[in-house]
């Protein structure tokens, strides 16, 4: 009888299901932020399990910066059709009107306006009081202290000094009017856990995660894919076909690929085990000073 023990993936999944159900029980208008990446897909699978045999009791929100990889958008729409969940796409129209792009305005401003601001607009517009995000504590140092229920004030600000202690699996979901929480059900998962789960659960992913010949240019040591004609080629730059895959997905001009032969989930896992390079390396956004992610988080970026 005492042989009843869960594997670590089962334990993580159970914990995440518990978190999601708590949120649905205690909040009036939750939403799931859906970035189309592998973490979002894992989170989506957990959510389906949490509320089976019913449908998801909340919509999915995709904040589109207009610079996402084309394949991401195709995949998003296909998944939404197949699984039949409610998908909300939000684009910061002010940003579009101003023609905001990462090339002329810099990555920081682009991200701030098209992602951080856009997200706040969407949350305010719909009046969501809880937003699920797929972030994990192992991604980056400043996240290691993040709560599962991360409290935000009326202005979506995160105050690192004023977070609630979290004990056992007893989450305090009480908020005043206008305040909200960001919820991270996958807090305790690592990158490897997400991949293992993807493998075990046979979760479909955007093909960009798998190695394929793709047109790329090399910039500051990062391999940037030429996904459309908007990418301005610098002097002397020429797009070349190289076999690459992406460890993380975002705006294509800000996301570096890695050379790879891994074209299946097990092969990706194998490469990951053999290499010792963490996933955020591919994210141009993190290459600022140490602590920069934390500043962005204070402003309301995830």
């Amino acid at each position: 009888m005492n042989s009843s023990t869960l594997t670590h993936l089962e334990a993580l999944e159970a914990e995440s299901i518990h978190v999601m159900r708590e949120v649905v029980a205690e909040f009036s208008k939750p939403v799931m932020l859906f970035s189309i990446g592998k973490d979002s897909m894992a989170m989506l699978r957990v959510a389906q399990k949490a509320f089976a045999p019913g449908k998801l009791p909340f919509p999915l929100l995709h904040v589109n910066t207009t610079f996402k990889f084309k394949e991401m958008i195709t995949f998003r729409d296909q998944i939404a059709r197949e699984l039949g969940f409610e998908l909300i796409e939000w684009i910061n129209q002010d940003g579009v009107a101003l023609g905001i792009n990462p090339f002329d305005h810099g990555t920081q401003r682009h991200t701030h306006i098209m992602k951080t601001e856009a997200l706040k607009q969407a949350l305010d517009h719909y009046g969501f009081d809880a937003a699920f995000g797929g972030a994990r504590r192992d991604e980056e140092k400043s996240r290691s202290k993040e709560r599962v229920f991360s409290f935000r004030d009326r202005f979506h600000q995160w105050d690192p000094k004023n977070q609630r202690p979290e004990l056992w699996n007893l989450y305090n979901g009480r908020v005043a009017k206008g305040e909200s929480i960001r919820v991270f059900p996958l807090s305790n998962w690592t990158e490897l856990d997400v991949w293992l789960y993807t493998h075990v659960e046979k979760i479909p992913l955007v093909p960009l995660y798998f190695a394929k010949e793709r047109p790329v240019v090399e910039r500051n040591g990062a391999l940037i894919m030429v996904d459309d004609e908007r990418l301005p080629l610098l002097k002397g730059e020429k797009s070349r076909m190289r076999k690459i895959r992406f460890r993380t997905l975002g705006c294509y001009p800000l996301t570096g690929g890695v050379e790879s032969d891994a074209d299946t989930v097990p092969k990706v896992i194998e490469e990951m085990l053999r290499s010792r390079s963490s996933e955020r390396q591919g994210r141009v956004i993190d290459y600022d000073e140490a602590g920069s992610m934390e500043e962005k988080k204070r402003e309301g970026y995830f």
């Binding site: 005492n2 202290k145 305090n172 085990l273 963490s278």
Partner: protein, 651 residues
């Protein structure tokens, strides 16, 4: 540096090449999860230790290491060496002050286990943060600086670990390099710790001498301490036996949500706090007491026959009964105390102090109810570990309170159930989480009996008035269950226990397996089925007698874990004290005065435990008595310590 720091990473690579990825995934994709808390004072080397664990087991990625080298030159305190402590810090402001002030979670894994490390700081908010980290941890590593030895904070850390119910502790004696790797220093610290750790009733304690800075006895061994044979910390982390820490006896399924996707399906979704549930089982829902049977169980959308804690499941029932968020499914004969009043230890976590008379929101399992602090019994002085009278509890204070809840929560004692005995208090105005609480056993007989009766009534929907004999007896009833091989000393212990309890003015009765077999169970033999029935009858008797306020001492072989679990279920965990009379078979055979073993060996009789029937030793008894030595007085001491810790009898 101890040779080959990439050895583990290399091992993993080799294993991968040998097995191929598909088989590797099959084998290592299913690890166990172990949650660890690290505690130590400032500068004990805690962060360095965790940094080492992560790095040497190859959990640190290369680009993080590059960033670390950059950080070391900015903030580091180690000069040229990489400062592994910097891996642990998170928030910029803290880093600039050179301190950590919150709980940070870290992850690493080996082929055997995935580890979640809760790193808590050694000063200032230590109590609050340690309690937070400890609440979810299975095991704690307590750091001691070899040069300083046991300090008041060492006791404090150990106390908080035991208060929060951690059952496994590794005491890591660090900076051994600074005391010339001296065995005698290690030994003297070990014996200093031994004393107070024994009082705290932490079941599993191990001591390891380490040098975190150089990674000695952390992931790899150490050539400098050949006298130490216990293995590095990682080995202990990989082998700590935690499977029995999960309470699989008392069924508690709190309703989180009612799922009603269509008219045909009405599922109660929740995370099993404890216990095992099977399709067809009879369940009662608290507080209404309505009963039904489990029709289906789904886990992650897939139907299954059986579920156990901590699975997140949804169940449907045979009958249409009402249950909603905050209610709890239990077994009809094993229900928790349902009472508006509850006694608890609380750790206060807010600047605004706890003051008696104030109302808060109490959240336990899925129930949130207003609750008033009606009494502050005492504050724990955590320097001296003594209780003292107090008018309020300030930030980081620990005290014992009584709460009066608007809705009676279905709680158990925290010592029996870490899930259903835990709660948080929330400030009604600021919504801040102000306290962590742990339910303690009822202090007096009246309360115990009263609470039990209400729970019993609620679960069975019968209201039979009962004469409260125990009120007259003035004692808390409980059941001591002595298990062990034949001739292991159970009867001797039972007899002596009866004498001592009687001398202390207690009403006590002994149920001896052999005498029961002459009467109550004269129809039973020694087959597996008959032994199970014998166990059941004994347990039912024990329960009836203890219901009447008596202390019951049971002495019976009860050779299998299943028999003893069933007994625990019948008697209820709260009252059940499992005691293992642990004597090797050879010793028992040597005491074979009535030739029981001799005849079994000669084939004259069958089904003798130890000879042709197995004895499954209990994995986590409340007490283990080494009954090979003739020191019954020592055994009595040990038992009375356990009784006192559970709040039963104080001599």
């Amino acid at each position: 540096m101890v040779g080959g720091e990439d050895a583990r990473a290399g091992e993993r690579g080799d294993e991968l090449s040998r097995l191929g990825i598909e088989r590797w995934l099959e084998r290592y994709g299913k690890k166990e999860l172990l949650r660890i808390l690290t505690c130590g004072s400032v500068d004990d080397g805690k962060s360095t230790l965790i940094g080492r664990l992560l790095h040497d087991s190859a959990g640190v990625f290369e680009d993080q290491l590059a960033a670390l080298k950059k950080d070391t030159s900015r903030f580091g305190t180690t000069g040229e060496d990489i400062d592994y402590a910097l891996l642990m810090d998170g928030l910029q402001a803290e880093r600039e002050q050179g301190i950590t002030i919150d709980v940070a979670y870290r992850y690493f894994s080996t082929p055997k286990r995935k580890f979640i490390v809760a790193d808590t700081p050694g000063h200032e908010q230590y109590t609050r943060n340690m309690a937070t980290g400890a609440s979810t941890s299975d095991l704690a590593i307590i750091l001691i600086d070899a040069r300083k030895g046991v300090l008041p904070q060492t006791r404090r850390h150990a106390f908080i670990c035991s208060l929060l119910g951690i059952r496994h502790v590794i005491v890591a004696i660090n900076k051994m390099d600074l005391v010339e790797y001296s065995e005698s220093v290690f030994e003297s610290i070990r014996s200093d710790c031994g004393e107070f750790l024994a009082k705290l009733a932490i079941a599993d304690v191990a001591f390891t001498p380490i040098c975190a800075r150089k990674g000695e006895n952390v992931v790899f061994g150490s050539d400098n301490m050949p006298w130490y044979k216990g293995g590095p910390i990682l080995d202990r982390l990989e082998s700590a036996y935690i499977a029995s820490d999960q309470n699989l006896v008392d069924l508690r399924l709190p309703v989180q949500l009612v799922l009603r996707p269509n008219l045909d399906y009405r599922g109660f979704a929740g995370t099993l706090a404890s216990g095992v549930l099977r399709v067809g089982d009879e369940v009662a829902v608290l507080p209404s007491g309505r009963k039904s049977r489990v029709k289906s169980i789904t886990s992650g959308g897939t139907e299954c026959e059986e579920a156990f804690a901590p699975m997140a499941i949804a169940i449907t029932l045979e009958d249409e009964i009402d249950a909603s968020r905050g209610d709890v499914f239990v077994r009809p004969n094993n229900a928790p105390v349902l009472d508006n009043a509850l006694d608890a230890m609380v750790v206060w976590m807010n600047e605004a102090p706890l003051t008696p008379g104030r109302q808060y929101l109490l959240k336990t399992l899925t129930l949130t109810t207003p609750a008033t602090v009606v009494d502050l019994r005492y504050r724990m002085n955590i320097e001296t570990l003594r209780s003292e009278p107090a008018a309020e509890l300030g930030l980081n204070a620990i005290g014992r309170v009584r709460l009066e809840c608007v809705r009676a929560p279905a709680v158990d004692a925290y010592s029996v159930n870490r899930k259903t005995g835990a709660f948080i208090l929330i400030d009604r105005l600021t919504n801040a989480t102000v306290a962590a609480g742990m339910v303690v056993e009822r202090a007096t007989v009246e309360e115990a009996v009263e609470g039990r009766r209400r729970a019993h009534d609620a679960a069975t929907n019968v209201r039979v008035p009962r004469i409260d004999r125990s009120r007259v007896f003035g004692q808390v009833p409980f059941v001591v269950w002595l298990t062990g091989l034949p001739r292991s000393g159970k009867s001797t212990i039972a007899e002596r226990l009866e004498k001592e309890l009687f001398a202390a003015g207690k009403r006590v009765i002994v149920l001896d397996g052999e005498s029961l077999r002459r009467g109550v169970s004269s129809d039973l033999g020694f087959s597996t089925a008959d032994r199970a029935e014998q166990g059941r009858r004994t347990a039912e008797l024990a329960r009836m007698l203890s219901d009447q306020g008596l202390i019951v001492v049971v002495a019976t072989v009860s050779p299998t874990a299943a028999i003893r679990e069933r007994a625990r279920e019948i008697v209820t965990s709260e009252r059940f004290v499992e005691v293992f009379c642990d004597a090797p078979l050879a010793v028992c055979e040597a005491r074979d005065t009535d030739r029981l073993f001799a005849r079994a060996r000669a084939g004259e009789i069958a089904n003798v435990t130890g000879v042709d029937q197995p004895f499954e030793a209990p994995t986590a008894p409340a007490a283990r008595l080494a009954t090979t030595k003739q020191d019954v007085t020592e055994h009595m001491k040990a038992l009375f310590t356990v009784f006192a810790a559970r709040g039963f009898v104080v001599r």
